[in-house]
Symmetry: C2
Subunit: 411 residues, 2 copies
């Protein structure tokens, strides 16, 4: 046997030579700390997931066991595609089952779109701050990532317009990725005016909008208004520039890993080819459970419970921040979803703040995780979705305690 001496190890591809892991996952180890209160999660409250309904759906799948055990079509289970098309139409996304591709979570849908559209160097617009796993997929694909800042009404479309004008035809982006409804992490809702303006820009400059909508059903008072997909459809003389993504992870259960894409045929066909090489098909058992669950007529009630609970938790968190961190933190008050995006008013060293908070038993996600470049290091994402009202109060108290302590002991 020839020893390997002298032969260099097989090189990784450029993107994977030295890739960074998820900055959020690195926080997981702190969760093991006793009595830690976490505002760092990006997951639904386990108590709000309809375990009883899912157990019931699951039990019904064994009547025709063979259909639950075999491979399935890459496009997805026919019943589930019907149901997801129905859910989409309920949100103003005109489609039927054949326009729907079932994916292994909506992250896979995004990854598929990156694969079928993006070559290294292609430009993609994101909001800043943006969802880290989307940024990571773009980074690994070698995309040139263009950030457009968010304010209380979502992505600042005027700034995008200026950016596009400056870049000209050569610098034209292929895709724009946005979470218009209660974005992760900013919690913002894109205003109706900006939706119209954004779609007009997409048509004018010839890019596609990927509208990722995992949180739109989790509104507190009013529904989020017309989807970008609905706006795109009404633009006379142009084909709809919007691809719609959504997920059952925030309203049914993350563990099913069921997301979906609504896209025109030419995109969907290629997405199916990509998905064949990625995982052949999304778990047909999980799809069957999801389809059966959605047919049980429990989904709406479960979503209602989530809206009420997340609304109450958001109220609790903002009330406590107003009471105990007045003048220390500014934040955007969300109208739905799971997240509050906050900034320290005084220039506190973000690393010092984070470590003091961990020590005090309260966890959040530091802002830098949500940017492709020029991170806002004084920002933080606070999720009120998983902790209960008591823990939300106690967690904010701990935060407030850390702020007091840092003021008393300035470096």
């Amino acid at each position: 046997m020839t020893p390997s001496t002298g032969i260099a190890p097989v090189a990784f591809s450029r993107s994977f030579a030295d890739p960074e892991g998820s900055p959020i996952r690195e926080l997981f180890r702190h969760l093991a700390q006793p009595a830690m209160i976490s505002f760092a999660g990006g997951y639904p409250s386990p108590a709000l997931l309809d375990a009883e309904g899912l157990e019931q759906a699951c039990a019904q799948c064994w009547g025709d066991a063979a259909a639950s055990l075999q491979y399935g079509p890459t496009e997805g289970n026919a019943d589930l595609r019907e149901s997801l098309a129905g859910l989409s139409r309920g949100r103003g996304v005109a489609c039927d089952a054949r326009d729907v591709l079932v994916t292994t979570g909506s992250q896979q849908a995004f990854d598929i779109l990156v694969r079928i559209f993006i070559e290294p160097g292609d430009a993609v617009v994101v909001e800043a701050p943006a969802y880290p796993a989307a940024l990571q997929a773009l980074r690994l694909a070698g995309a040139s990532i263009l950030q457009v800042p968010v304010d209380e009404h979502g992505m600042q479309v005027d700034m995008l317009r200026e950016m596009l004008a400056v870049r000209g035809t050569q610098g034209r982006p292929k895709l724009l990725y946005t979470v218009p409804n209660y974005s992760n992490p900013s919690g913002t809702l894109l205003s109706a005016e900006r939706r119209t303006a954004l779609v007009a820009l997409a048509i004018e400059h010839g890019f596609l909008i990927i509208e990722d909508d995992p949180y739109g059903q989790l509104y507190f008072d009013e529904p989020p208004g017309d989807s970008l997909h609905a706006v795109g459809r009404t633009c006379a003389g142009a084909s709809n520039p919007v691809i719609y993504l959504s997920s059952l992870s925030k309203t049914v259960a993350p563990s099913l890993r069921i997301g979906w894409m609504v896209a025109p045929d030419r995109v969907l066909r290629r997405s199916v080819v990509a998905k064949q090489t990625m995982d052949l098909c999304t778990s047909p058992l999980a799809q069957r459970i999801a389809a059966t669950y959605l047919a049980l007529d429990r989904y709406e009630a479960a979503v209602l419970r989530s809206r009420a609970t997340y609304g109450a938790r958001m109220q609790a968190m903002t009330l406590h921040i107003d009471n105990h961190l007045h003048g220390q933190l500014t934040y955007l008050r969300p109208l739905g979803g799971m997240f509050i995006w906050a900034r320290t008013v005084a220039p506190v060293d973000p690393d010092r703040l984070f470590h003091a908070c961990v020590k005090a038993g309260v966890l959040f996600v530091p802002g830098k995780a949500f940017f492709a470049a020029q991170p806002d290091r004084h920002a933080m994402r606070l999720s009120y979705a998983a902790p209960d009202i008591h823990d939300i109060g106690e967690g904010v108290n701990r935060l407030a305690g850390v702020f007091r302590q840092l003021q008393e002991q300035p470096t």
Copy 2:
């Protein structure tokens, strides 16, 4: 609203400008034909899947519903990683749970490895014929695919040695993909001598071997012998050049979409980063069902039943071919797995043969699907896994009828 006139549609990436779909999926429409007997499948017999055991496992998952409903670690469920490490060790693959990455089917494991290693133009060796979804993943990644022909003892390692000598250091492949045990589609078992020689070549030329092993447990008489991973481990002075992949799809249920990878830490860490952007994690519910099922102690019995049944079906198919297609078809007699690789002896037009068979009510996969280049158009893949003994006999009779008919009506 500006109309889209004058703006070109967003271009797809080069690989997706005009991608071919799966040649096997195109056969699906023929399955709807009444009384069609299909030898075209690549899936286990539904009757052999342990529906009762899986239902039982599934019912047990609701005791701790929250753990079945939430997101899970990208690496996989801890219990399942333990079980899969145990299964791997039982096949001579030295590992423990931390060396295992759970994937959404073993196709995802392969796709991950392509992503972390392959840049356009990088060379990858495959056997010819090879598994079409692997070829497709390589094609879409822009790999330069090098084919090494298979004979009755699997990949012809001597021919690989010659190819490597001719190509020299510049043309050195990064990866070699092989299904050493009862390959899809050739059904061949790589001989022990060739395993040793193949691992030695990998060490000498500095490439990695991806050993994909979905069928190794489905042997008819004797187990397949040492895995390439085991051979690679015993090579003194070299780190193991073998990455081991396997799947529960052929022995438990395809619908779980559970596969796994055993790889060194530097590969596994990057695979986790890749998987985060692909689907965050494999369905934690499916993983929990799989882990619970494997703990029920029914897996071995289910595999025994599959071995016996597939063995009997292979016997039936080869007997019928010998009796009714003697002199018309040559084939490799498999020692396990699901596939017979056959060739027409007389030069029959393959398209004419295929369409006549469809008309006669028997389906197979034409050989051309299994090659990156220079397809053997006179070959065909016949699977005996799904049809029962009666249908196997009737299907071979139909094939024989078509051969008679084509001889009577030469073009």
